[in-house]
Amino acid sequence: MSDPALGLLMLCLIVVVIMMGFPTAFTLMGLGMMFGFKAFYDPSHSFADNKVFDLMVQRTYGAMTNDVLISIPLFVLMGYVMERGALVDKMFYSIQLAFRKVSASLAVATLIVCTFWGIASGLVGAVVVLMGVIAFNPMLKAGYDVKLAAGVITAGGTLGILIPPSVMIIVYAAVAGQSVVKLYASAMFPGFFLSFLYLIYIVGWAMINPKIAPALSEAQTRVPVPDWLTRFQSLYSRNVLVGLGKALISPGKALALPAEKGNVTYGMIVVNFIAALVPFMIVAGTLALTWWYVVIHQQKGPEEVFQGVQQLGQPVAAGPSAPVDDGPPVAFFWWFGGIAIVCLLWQFRYYARITIDRLQVIKLLSTSIMPLGILTVVVLAVILFGITTATESAGVGAAGAFLLALQARTLDWKRTKEAVFLTAKTTAMVCWLFVGSALFSGVFAILGGQALVEQWVLSLNMSPIQFMILSQAIIFVLGWPLEWTEIIVIFVPIFLPLLKHFNIDPILWGTLVFVNLQAAFLSPPVAMSAFYLKGVAPKHVTLNQIFNGMMPYMIIVIICMVIMYLWPGLTLWLPNYLYGN
């Protein structure tokens, strides 16, 4: 048998053996070793000198010193700690109150919690079961359509594998030799865009047909306001912000009010006043950060270079000819100004109508979501703005997750141990798979299997669009029986060398693969999340109802892919803006 044919045999065998359910990492190693032995076989050498052994150990050591994979254990640890530290039911409750006036508020809250959760952790099963318990039954009790309720949980639950910082993206970066930060930046758009599209779909459907998501009863939407705040409101002002401001100056009347324990203290007024200002601080902070990054940070760059040159003691070379950035385009200022004015008006309207209900919701939100939100925003911002490397951000993020969990008093010794051991298992699983596949793909290339596949694909004379559709279709089908680890580590490398020929950006293609796997994980009848939901759903909910609920979301994912393909700029704008080409 010729070598390339052996390569193809190897590829077929791997599919067969994976289907037999043997641990994939060892299948890859065993197959790679055997076929490699044959490929390197040289009768003049003793069998112990076969070069496949060198290849094997080099590839293993390569995985052990891989500077991309090293961030996996850190991100995984961060996820496990957050998952055990943040209280998802509290999050759901406060978000649901915040959106109590929006139609289908329970479904909207579910989706938002899933998105948040997706940032923290990438486990599909756990989030679907959790939301199944926390949100599914309340939705059914409130009279929501079964399909709507089932769809939003299953679709939201699978978002976790896509939204950065996700392990899947790191593994793809290691396989494709792309930068992790660029991939994170490009996955930001589809991740949140998809979640946004789901949101539009839910709210839109509920507005057209209010029967599928009846409004909640008065009791369910009542905000639990402490007694003293109600009296406080009648004493000072209906507008809580004004009232608190007045109370800060003349606290006499407020301090006489009875609270749960003793009287109201001045500290309580200060805390509530600060809480009332949280939305303003978030808006102002975001605007200031954008301004800093676009206007100030960009201009600092050339100056620093200039000074560096001078310090080296080369006064001759360091002339005024140092390149000076012209700053951001004029359009930026228009946009920024416009958005700032809109935000300001909105804030004005918001604060003009602020009541104790709103204040209470803000307080609930800031205790349940803010810690998790701040940590993820910091980790992502630090990576995306290129302040530290992905590994360093992951390390700091993991430490931050520990601090948050300690602060929320949800972390104890048992949970720490669990998080550490789970991290070890997940890391070992991914990295051993990587060791196996590194050997496997090396041998596959040496045998000429890769070249054969390439020749065959090139001989089909496909246009880039056809190739794109074909490759994504293959990955979609593979996503039914396989886990993302196997797809990214074994099958994606076969397509990667072909991308260059078709002039397809590996970053765009990779991002499409991530979104594609979402669709694959939502496709009946193999979608795992449906079975997770079925496990916790009441008896009368059938699997078919869940599948029917998932279908529209699968179509939305595909629409999202089409949009991403038609306007690649949407996906690639952020990485190009942040890191140039």
């Binding site: 289907m19 850190l74 756990a126 390390g395 070890a424 997940t426 070992a428 886990e483 079975f531 916790v536």
Partner: protein, 222 residues
């Protein structure tokens, strides 16, 4: 010594070593954080930190290979597998362990041994920086991890043989699983009613299993 005890002893060794190595993640986290502080705040980066990070991470995942195998946590295409009868599973496993696993890992040990031996012979140092730290002990991790994995692999083969005989998989040591988070989250929930909480916590494992089989192992009995 009875077979079950033998299996649990080997599982215990792998698990103990794996759990010990698992704590390297905390070391890695601290090292990274300290280095971030030194590099970005004190402006005093350390040259050998890159090597140290790699060593911590590389040792971590290599030494946890056997632990992961002992907990059956290596990813497997369990789409068809998990809907088979235990005897069929055991038969497939037994054959595939002997055909793929043993040669693959034996080759890894053999190759890792000579690789590490070469490194010890020249007392190799890292070449990432000019005056890098020694790496020969790090390379020694490869054959050691290989030995651990093959030991656990032998236990798995015995396991499959036992299952082939009795038609039932021998038990594994209990360990934390991903789905346990359900219990952690719901145990103290204030907003979910008592009954559905209890049901979900009790059935979490079962739900996880059925979902992995995509319902092919039979419907959930409710």
């Amino acid at each position: 010594m009875n077979v079950q005890k033998f299996l649990h002893t080997i599982d215990g060794i792998s698990t103990w070593v794996g759990k010990a190595a698992a704590w390297l993640i905390m070391a890695l986290m601290f090292v990274v954080c300290i280095e971030v502080f030194k590099r970005y705040i004190l402006n005093a980066p350390t040259a050998w930190i890159f090597d140290l990070d790699n060593m911590l991470y590389g040792t971590l995942f290599m030494m946890c290979g056997a632990y992961t195998l002992a907990q059956n946590a290596h990813v497997r295409g369990d789409f068809l597998y998990s809907s088979m009868k235990p005897r069929t599973q055991a038969f497939l496993d037994l054959v595939l362990y002997i055909v793929f696993f043993i040669p693959g890992i034996a080759a890894l040990i053999y190759a890792g041994w000579s690789y590490a031996a070469d490194s010890w012979r020249i007392l190799e140092h890292s070449t990432v920086t000019a005056n890098g730290p020694p790496v020969y002990h790090f390379k020694t991790v490869i054959p050691i991890a290989g030995c651990m994995v093959i030991l656990q692999g032998i236990a798995e083969i015995v396991r499959a043989a036992v299952c082939l005989k009795t038609g039932e998989w021998p038990s594994r040591l209990h360990d934390v699983a991903e789905i346990d988070v359900i219990e952690e989250q719901l145990a103290h929930s204030e907003y979910v009613d008592e009954e559905s909480r209890k049901i979900a916590i009790e059935r979490a494992k079962e739900i996880d299993e059925v979902a992995r089989q995509r319902g092919m192992g039979g419907e959930l009995n409710q």
